[in-house]
C-alpha cells in the first residue's frame, strides 16, 4: 500500500461549528499528526468551492486519504464520497469527524468543545491510515415493486409504475382502496370533489394488468436486499403466494386520534361532539345532522385537538387548519343562517391557495376565536334549557382577553393524525426507523425525503409526516422517479463494506453461519471453511465480532481501523 498522504478539512459550517469550536486552532494543531499533508479550515466544506478545494488538493498534493471534520456523516458522507470520485480517488478513502451534532451543537464551553474536536479529528486521521480502496458491488434489480398501503399515495405510485409497464404488487390491509381520501367529500383549497378524482384512479388500479391487488392482506416478513426482496403473503381466501420484487414503497398513512382523553371536549359524553373524520363522512353522505336527526343551528370547529399538545402529540398535524376552513365553507353553503365558530390556537394555512381560503372564509360570517393551546384549553358543558342550544363552550379568548361562552349544537374536533396500530411492525419488516412520533424517518430530511436508510425502500405520504393529498401525491411520484431510475439502470451499486473470511484461519466451526441474519455465509465442505457471499452480506459485522480466531474482518470497519480510531481518541484526549 502506498504511504498515506492525508488531507484534512475542518468546516466552520458558517457559525454552526465555528462559534463553539476554534476551527483554526484545530486545523493548525492536526498538521503535526503523522501523514497529514494538507490541513485547512473553510466556511462551508459541502459547498461547491469547498468540494473543489478538496479536488484541487488531491491533484496538487497527490493526496490519497481525505478527512472532513464537519457535520454528521449521516448527512454528508455521500456528498464527500462523490467529491473523491470526481477527483478519481476511491470514495472509501474517506472519513468524517462529526464536530457539529456531536460537539459544537451540544456543548457550551468553547475550550472543551475545541479539545473534543481535536480528539475526534485526530482519531479520524489515525484510522484513515488503514482505509483501503473498496469496490462497490453491482446487484441486478428485479423490476417489480411492492407497495404497502393503498391510500392516495400508494395508488399514485402504483399507477405511475404500472404505466411504465412494470409490475406492482399492492398490499392493502383493509377491504378497499383509497385510505382516508376515500372518505373525503371536497378538497381544499378549491373545494373540488375528491371522489371524482379518486374513483377513476381506483378503476384503473383494478383494470391494470401490471397491478396485482391484494386486499385484506398484510406483510409478515420481507427478506433480501435492494433489487432482490422476497415475501410470502397469504391473501384472503387464497393460498400462500411468494412475491419477488426489487423495490418497496411504504405508504401506510396515519390514523386519526381518539380524542376521549381530552375530557374537556366531552367526546363520547356529548353525542354531538364529533371528530373531523366523522364529520367528513357526514359531508360525503350529503346529510349533516345531529344525532337526533335535527339540523344544527350553532356549529363550532375546534382546532389542534391532540396536536401541538405536549401530552399527546407535540407535532402539528398540518392539514387540520385548512380542513377546518373547508368545513366552515361547506357548512355555510349548507346552512346559510347557521352560526359558525372556528376556535383555533394558531391558524396555519400553509400551501398554495390556502391563505386565500382563510380570507374567503372570514368573509362568510364565520367567527374566529383564539385560545391558549398550552395553558388554557376551551371546555364544553351542557347548556341550560333557556340557552337555546345543546352545549356551551367556555373559553378565554386570547386576543380580546375575554371570557366567552359559545353556543353549540354540534362541535367538530379537528383531531390529530398519528402512527397506525401496525406501524412498528411495518417499520421492522421493512427495516426503516421510526422517529419519536412514530413517523418513518427519511434518508435525509432535506435532500432525500422519500428514500430511507435502507436501500430500495421508500416512504411516501402521510406515514412520513402528516400531509395533504397534493403533497402525498408529489412524494409518491418522487419515489417512483427514483424507482424507475433504478429499474432502467437494471443494477444498483451496493456498498463494498462487507465481511470477508481468511480461509487459512477459519476452522470451520460455522458459528458465523448461525449468526448471519441474511444467510450470507455458507460452508465449503471441501475446503472445510465458511465463505461469505458479498452481495448478500449487509455489513453488520456480527460475524466479525463472533469469530474467535479473527478469521473474519470487515471492509470499512476493520479491527485495525476501529482500534486505531479508539487508541487515538483516548490518547489525544
Amino acid at each position: 500500500m502506498e504511504k498515506p498522504r492525508i488531507g484534512v478539512y475542518v468546516c466552520w459550517c458558517g457559525t454552526n461549528i465555528a462559534k463553539m469550536v476554534d476551527v483554526e486552532a484545530v486545523a493548525e494543531e492536526i498538521k503535526n499528526v503523522p501523514n497529514v499533508v494538507v490541513s485547512r479550515n473553510y466556511k462551508y466544506m459541502c459547498s461547491d468551492p469547498g468540494q473543489d478545494m478538496i479536488i484541487n488538493d488531491i491533484k496538487e498534493f497527490k493526496l490519497n486519504r481525505i478527512v472532513v471534520s464537519a457535520c454528521s456523516p449521516r448527512i454528508h458522507e455521500i456528498t464527500f464520497r462523490k467529491t473523491l470520485k470526481k477527483a478519481e480517488l476511491n470514495p472509501y478513502l474517506f472519513q468524517m469527524a462529526n464536530i457539529r451534532e456531536h460537539d459544537s451543537w451540544v456543548h457550551t464551553d468553547r475550550a472543551e468543545a475545541t479539545k473534543k474536536a481535536k480528539a475526534l479529528v485526530t482519531a479520524a486521521i489515525n484510522r484513515i491510515n488503514y482505509h483501503e480502496p473498496l469496490k462497490e458491488l453491482s446487484v441486478d434489480i428485479n423490476p417489480a415493486t411492492l407497495i404497502i398501503g393503498g391510500g392516495i399515495s400508494g395508488i399514485t405510485a402504483a399507477l405511475e409504475i404500472a404505466d411504465a409497464d412494470k409490475k406492482v404488487y399492492m398490499i392493502e390491509k383493509s377491504n378497499k382502496l383509497g385510505g382516508y381520501t376515500a372518505d373525503i367529500d371536497l378538497t381544499y383549497p378549491h373545494l373540488s370533489s375528491v371522489q371524482q378524482m379518486l374513483g377513476p384512479m381506483i378503476e384503473r388500479m383494478k383494470k391494470n394488468k401490471n397491478i396485482d391487488l391484494f386486499l385484506e392482506t398484510e406483510i409478515k416478513e420481507i427478506t433480501g436486499y435492494i433489487g432482490n426482496f422476497e415475501t410470502i403473503i397469504t391473501p384472503k381466501n387464497d393460498n400462500e403466494t411468494k412475491l419477488s420484487f426489487g423495490n418497496i414503497v411504504v405508504s401506510i398513512g396515519l390514523r386519526s386520534w381518539d380524542p376521549s382523553p381530552l375530557e374537556n371536549y366531552g367526546y363520547g359524553k356529548f353525542p354531538d361532539v364529533i371528530t373531523s373524520v366523522e364529520f367528513e363522512k357526514m359531508l360525503l353522505s350529503g346529510n349533516i345532522a345531529k344525532k337526533d336527526g335535527s339540523i344544527p343551528k350553532n356549529i363550532a370547529i375546534i382546532h389542534c385537538v391532540g396536536s401541538r399538545n405536549k401530552n399527546y402529540h407535540e407535532y402539528c398535524s398540518r392539514t387540520c387548519c385548512t380542513v377546518a376552513l373547508k368545513y366552515a365553507n361547506q357548512l355555510r353553503s349548507a346552512f346559510p343562517n347557521a352560526s359558525i365558530y372556528e376556535l383555533f390556537a394558531d391558524m396555519r394555512t400553509m400551501s398554495k391557495g390556502c391563505e386565500e381560503l382563510y380570507t374567503i372564509t372570514s368573509r362568510k360570517k364565520v367567527v374566529f376565536m383564539m385560545f391558549d393551546q398550552e395553558n388554557d384549553l376551551p371546555g364544553i358543558r351542557k347548556a341550560n334549557i333557556n340557552d337555546n342550544c345543546e352545549m356551551i363552550i367556555e373559553l378565554n379568548e386570547k386576543r380580546s382577553r375575554k371570557f366567552v361562552e359559545v353556543p353549540a349544537d354540534m362541535v367538530i374536533l379537528m383531531v390529530a393524525m398519528e402512527g397506525r396500530e401496525m406501524v412498528k411492525e411495518v417499520a421492522q419488516i421493512t427495516g426503516v426507523s421510526l422517529d419519536g412520533n412514530k413517523l418513518f424517518i427519511e434518508k435525509h430530511p432535506k435532500l432525500d425525503p422519500v428514500a430511507t436508510t435502507t436501500s430500495g425502500v421508500y416512504t411516501v405520504g402521510s406515514c412520513q409526516g402528516p400531509k395533504s393529498i397534493p403533497d402525498s401525491v408529489s412524494q409518491a411520484r418522487a419515489a417512483v422517479a427514483r424507482i424507475l431510475g433504478t429499474i432502467a439502470r437494471g443494477t444498483a451499486q451496493v456498498a463494498g463494506t462487507t465481511a470477508h473470511i481468511n480461509i487459512n484461519i477459519c476452522c470451520g466451526c460455522q458459528m458465523c453461519i448461525s449468526v448471519c441474519p441474511y444467510s450470507a455465509i455458507s460452508f465449503d465442505a471441501e475446503k472445510n471453511v465458511s465463505v461469505i457471499n458479498e452481495i448478500l452480506c449487509q455489513g453488520c459485522g456480527t460475524c466479525v465480532a463472533l469469530c474467535r480466531p479473527n478469521a473474519i474482518d470487515i471492509w470499512g470497519c476493520s479491527n485495525r481501523q476501529m482500534t486505531a480510531e479508539l487508541t487515538a481518541l483516548l490518547l489525544s484526549d
Partner: protein, 267 residues
C-alpha cells in the same frame, strides 16, 4: 477394566478401528493417555476414578486423525467434549467409536451422538465442589479483593499457552493471541497481556467449556484459570439454561439468542 480391554481387542483385531485412545499407567506411576494400535497393547488399558484426563483433546490432533477410525475410552468430560465438538462441526459420527464405563462398572458402547446425548442427560454435570466453593468465596469478596486475587495469580503466568493446548475447545488454526492486525494481546507475559489473554480465552469458551478442568491442570504455574471458565459455565446455565456438551445439534450460546434474554443492567 476387563470388558474394556476385551472390546478394544475385538475392535482392533477386526480392524473396525485403527487406534484406541485410552488411559494407561506411565513410568512415574501416574495415569496418562496411551494410544493402542495393536491388539496385544490393550492389556495396558485401565479405567477407574483416577482417569480424569479429558482424552477428547486428542481427537482433533492431525497426527491422530490421520491414523483412521478412532476408538476413545471416554469419561464424562470427554463425552461432553465430543458432543460439543460435534455441534461445532469438528467431528463426525462415522469417524469415531466411543466406549465408556458407568460408575458401577458396566461397559458402554455408543452407537452415535444421540446415544451419548441420552447418557449425558442422566449424568452429573455439576461443577466439582472445590471449585464451586471457591467461586462462591470469590463472589463474596469485594471487587478490589477479587482484582488483587487475580493479579496475584496472573502475575505468574508465563504465557506458555499450556492451558490452550490442553483445552479440547481451543482447536483454532491460529489463536487470537497470535492475531496481529492489530496485535490486540501483548505478546510478552506482561500482567496486562496475561489478563487480556485470560479474558479472551474465557470469552471464547463461554457456552463451550465442558468443565473438564484440563486447562488448570496443565498450567505450570498453578493458576486456577478454570474458575474463570466455570464462572461462565454458571452464567450460561443460570441465564440461558444451557450446558455445553449436551447436544450435538444446537447452536452455541454465543451464536444464538432469545428475543427476551433477561438482563438487569441495560439502560
Amino acid at each position: 477394566m476387563d470388558s474394556i480391554r476385551k472390546r478394544a481387542r475385538e475392535l482392533l483385531e477386526k480392524n473396525t478401528v485403527k487406534v484406541v485412545i485410552g488411559y494407561g499407567v506411565g513410568s512415574d506411576n501416574t495415569v496418562r493417555a496411551i494410544f493402542v494400535r495393536r491388539p496385544e497393547g490393550v492389556e495396558e488399558l485401565i479405567f477407574d476414578e483416577t482417569c480424569v484426563q479429558n482424552l477428547a483433546v486428542y481427537l482433533l490432533k492431525n497426527e491422530i486423525k490421520q491414523i483412521g477410525k478412532l476408538c476413545i475410552i471416554a469419561n464424562i468430560s470427554a463425552l461432553r467434549t465430543i458432543l460439543q465438538l460435534a455441534s461445532e462441526h469438528q467431528i463426525h459420527e462415522e469417524e469415531l467409536l466411543c466406549l465408556s464405563v458407568t460408575p458401577n462398572g458396566e461397559l458402554l458402547e455408543f452407537t452415535g451422538f444421540k446415544d451419548i446425548e441420552n447418557y449425558i442427560s442422566s449424568c452429573n454435570r455439576d461443577l466439582p465442589d472445590k471449585e464451586s466453593e471457591m467461586i462462591k468465596k470469590l463472589e463474596k469478596m469485594s471487587v478490589d479483593e477479587r482484582w488483587q486475587f487475580w493479579m496475584n495469580h496472573l502475575s505468574r503466568c508465563i504465557k506458555c499457552y499450556a492451558c490452550r493446548s490442553a483445552c479440547p475447545m481451543c482447536y483454532c488454526t491460529r489463536c487470537q493471541v497470535e492475531y496481529n492486525q492489530p496485535q490486540w494481546i501483548t505478546v510478552e507475559a506482561t500482567l496486562m497481556g496475561n489478563f487480556e489473554w485470560q479474558i479472551t480465552r474465557t470469552m471464547h469458551l463461554a457456552g463451550r467449556c465442558v468443565n473438564c478442568g484440563e486447562c488448570a491442570r496443565a498450567c505450570p504455574e498453578d493458576i486456577p484459570i478454570n474458575l474463570l471458565n466455570y464462572k461462565t459455565v454458571l452464567t450460561v446455565k443460570e441465564k440461558y439454561n444451557i450446558s455445553a456438551g449436551t447436544n450435538a445439534n444446537i447452536d452455541s450460546v454465543m451464536s444464538s439468542f432469545e428475543s427476551d434474554d433477561k438482563e438487569n443492567f441495560i439502560r
